[in-house]
């Protein structure tokens, strides 16, 4: 379940990075938001487990890096 945390204007900027001349539909921005939030939440769940496993209550950058490698 995604919560529309990421701004749609940011999704448009990211989608135009592939090809600056391309246009972007509103549903395409919403789809990218959904995808990035789901991916982010998956990383977050794993990263918080790794932080706790390391005896911490704070997620560090290294937890995020490890979470990407071991999703």
């Amino acid at each position: 379940m995604t919560e529309k945390i990421l701004p749609l204007a940011a999704m448009e900027r990211i989608l135009k990075k592939g090809d600056p001349n391309v246009r972007v539909s509103e549903p395409a921005k919403e789809e990218l938001r959904k995808v990035l939030e789901e991916y982010g939440e998956e990383v977050a769940r794993t990263a918080s487990k790794f932080a706790i496993h390391a005896g911490r209550k704070t997620i560090k950058a290294e937890d995020v890096q490890l979470a990407i490698k071991h999703k």
Copy 2:
């Protein structure tokens, strides 16, 4: 290369979704931003190719969906 398009406050919200009691370091937010922007750009490059392949100049949601399946 990422451009710091996504807001760090949004990264914090996403990182806390895994475990609301966890804290999040600033470098962890920056790391998640980097990861999500890189992933988003990869999806964007593929989605814009698929749009052009379909004879369009506009990325639609279906291009994003297909790009995720065929990165």
